[in-house]
């Protein structure tokens, strides 16, 4: 931990000939209170110029050394990641620190970002998959909880956001408190100390502390259709709340999710919808687990003529979890997959940096990767079956269909 509270984690991977980093500050949507959209607006402006450099000069400086740097707003965090060479690490981190500590928020850039956000609204409104998933998030995490609402806020809200709102948000939340930076690749102790820790320690404290994350309100399952008659394909999104990352059910649930909708070409779900019936090119599930809650979701893209059959088949697979729970061979395959995937999933700098960041953010401890195989092996089969039955249910899930479907009544 640096003197200003920022935490730096690093891991050398000398065979990858560059440095990758991933970091975060607790300045995501959770921190914006009811000023919806201000966190997203701020994140998009951090490359919009600093007190030292205009947006154009900043881009010239960054790309002139061949580095990349991106900022993204999320539910809990303002995250950033980038790539640079060993020789350009110091300059890249200095630029990162400048962007975080002295953004200029020029009016010209604010106008540009406002236009970009409006355009994104239009683009997302025309995308069946995005609309279905956005609506599902809203249903699963109701009452404008940060886990469920659109990070961009609303179109009207974006119109109202002023420079002073962005400056206030930045001053209150963007600083070294809660900052985590994970770096991997072609680095050693000296490089970390002189080129990363030293510039990072110059970050000044922000005004407010780390925002509390309230648990999501209760979910009441609903069915929604979003007619988009001009589209060719319909997207189905089904989901329900699950557990936070540190919850005792998490690892069993993660394995159950793998078996139901991920392993191989999408687990049980993909085998049925894609492999056996040829109904969908994609049909898979996801599990997101955050600090105060989580969501399990299922996505499938189908021809509207096959919509009824696809929904029935999904229902049948959900019911099968109760009538024909995962058998021992399935669980064994899943465990082998999770243990083996550790080697494969950490072959890239960017993936290692992301995992290091994840471990630090959720307090899993730096020995987590060594313990992971034991955690998986120790999972009891009946526990995996139990969590699947508990969390992956038709009655407990919301469903959204977006596409050329009309305002039909849906049942799952």
């Amino acid at each position: 931990m640096l003197g200003n509270g920022a935490v730096l984690v690093s891991f050398a991977l000398p065979s990858n000939p560059f440095v990758a980093f991933r970091g975060s500050i607790p300045a995501g949507m959770v921190a914006e209170g009811d000023a919806y959209g201000v966190a997203e607006f701020t994140s998009r402006l951090l490359l919009g110029g600093t007190r030292r450099l205009s947006a154009a000069k900043l881009a010239d400086r960054l790309e002139g050394i061949g580095a990349t740097l991106e900022f993204h707003n999320g539910e809990e965090l303002l995250s950033f990641h980038g790539r640079c060479t060993r020789e350009t690490t110091r300059e890249t981190i200095r630029i990162l620190v400048d962007c975080l500590s002295t953004p200029a928020f020029p009016l010209r850039e604010i106008d540009r970002v406002r236009g970009e956000l409006w355009n994104d609204f239009r683009i997302e409104a025309d995308d069946t998959q995005l609309r279905a998933m956005r609506e599902l998030g809203r249903l699963v995490f109701p009452k404008d909880h940060p886990y469920g609402r659109d990070p961009k806020g609303g179109e009207e809200g974006i119109r109202r956001i002023r420079r002073r709102d962005i400056v206030a948000f930045h001053e209150a939340h963007v600083g070294p408190e809660g900052l985590i930076l994970a770096a991997t690749g072609d680095l050693d102790r000296e490089l970390v100390e002189t080129s990363i820790a030293e510039p990072l320690s110059r970050l000044d404290t922000s005004e407010d502390g780390i925002p509390a994350i309230l648990p999501p309100p209760p979910h009441r399952p609903r069915r929604v259709t979003i007619p988009m008659p001009h589209k060719t394909q319909a997207d189905i999104a089904i989901g329900a709340p699950t557990v936070p990352r540190r919850h005792e059910d998490y690892y069993a649930l993660n394995l159950a999710n793998l078996l139901f909708g991920r392993i191989g070409l999408y687990g049980r779900l993909g085998r049925n919808l894609r492999d056996e019936q040829g109904l969908a090119y994609y049909a898979f599930t996801s599990l997101e687990a955050r600090t105060a809650g989580g969501m399990w979701s299922l996505q499938a893209g189908v021809n509207p003529a096959n919509l009824g059959r696809a929904v029935q088949s999904i229902r049948a697979e959900l019911d099968r979890l109760q009538s024909e729970p995962f058998h021992s061979d399935e669980v064994g395959d899943g465990k082998e997959n999770q243990v083996g995937s550790l080697i494969v999933s950490l072959e890239r700098n960017a993936e290692v940096a992301a995992e290091l960041h994840h471990m630090e953010y959720y307090g899993l401890g730096m020995g987590f990767l060594e313990r992971y195989a034991d955690i998986v092996h120790e999972l009891r089969e009946d526990r995996i079956r139990e969590v699947a039955m508990k969390y992956f249910t038709a009655s407990g899930s919301s469903m959204v269909v977006a596409g050329p479907v009309g305002r039909m009544r849906l049942s799952l």
Binding site: P14, S15, N16, P17, F18, A20, L47, A56, A59, D60, E63, G64, G66, A67, H72, R83, C84, R112, E116, N119, R122, I123, E124, A125, D126, T128, Q129, P227, M228, K231, Q233, I263, G264, L265, R271, R274, D275, G278, L279, A280, Y281, Y282, G301, N303, N306, D333, E336, N337, Q338, V339, G340, S341, L342, I343, V344, S345, E347, R348, N349, G403
Partner: protein
Amino acid sequence: MPTHVETLENGLKVVLRPIPDTKALSTWVVYRIGSRNEVPGMTGSTHWVEHMLFKGGGKLGKGDIDKIISRLGGKMNAFTDTDYTMYFETIPATAMDTALMIESERMRNAAFDPKEVEAERTVVISEREGAENQPEFAVEEELWGLAFHVHPYHWTPIGYKQDLAALDRDSLYRHYLRYYAPNNASLILVGGFDPAVAMQRIREAFAPLRPESPPDPMRLTEPEQHGERRSDLVRPGPADLLEMGWHIPAAGHEDMPALILLSTILGGWRGLVPFASGDWRPRSNRLYRALVDTKLATDVGVRPEMKIDPGLLIVNVTLAKGVSHQRVEAVLDREIAKLASTVPAKAEIDRARRQFHSWARYERDGVTFQGMSLSVGEGLASWDFGDRLRAKVVKVRPERVREVAKSYLIRDRRSVVRFHAQEATT
């Protein structure tokens, strides 16, 4: 990086890149077959064949590939391009024999069970329909169709829906048998292995496979374009789009290094290989400054489509609301004219070169991306295609950038697609 290259007697080219301190292994097989080798009425057949090669045959039953790779915690996929098709699996290095077994079975013994072929028809159609939901796909398909009248680059690898509805099992199987042979493929291994041991295992797995007679050389050449071609798409969509494509020479042509610098100056650089760049959006380039900074557009991209045969240099723009296509086209014309008339400043050339070279490192991030880079190189020319290109980019004189702009970015040889977004009815 140390790379061992050897060709087996049956014509299979083997490229080995050992990385001693890694525990993962990425195995790639690239076949010199893509939509470029298709004929009208059979478009999309190469991509459909790719799907069928996950369904077993020989020593592998249906679902076995999935099961085996999943148990290893591995990742796998395949990609069909216009010029080549690639398959890969990244697994723990200790399981090298498994990857070699899968790929040798896939090369000659795929089953093509008629029932499975039929089940996959709707899957590939679904893949196409998912793409059709995106206006960008319609624009891209229209641009290639407009720019190429004779050459099979006229269609995209996914193929036309009517062909996907009509293709039969035997045609697909013939396509497979004709092109999936050791003498039309390269095997690439990157990761933690001993090259001598790997070579021995490769011989055991692949040497028994019989070669086919070499594929016929491409006979179709796109005639020179005389006069600009335009197309207007009027469809529901979220934003107006503009895409322009200029004919450029083949990937191996001596002008390609200068065209890469030109492309970087115009629109930035995101690497030779797709996927490595993620969401990264370069801003230090002329078109971002001229179109996005000025709020005429919300996004702009430039990419040289490097292909075995002459391809396209493509500019795509997402227009800001209320901005006309004419206005954006005028800005593009002005920027292109500037490039064709004035030699770029040294600082701008240096910045473009540095971006290109940094990306060369970023594309070596792990065994999978390295395998992909070497495979794309093999698909286009040779595994070291990227390294050779990089060596040439260093030597490009600034004057050459102006010269290639003048030679290739010509109005009479460009195709333009304008997407006019209509309000969707609900």
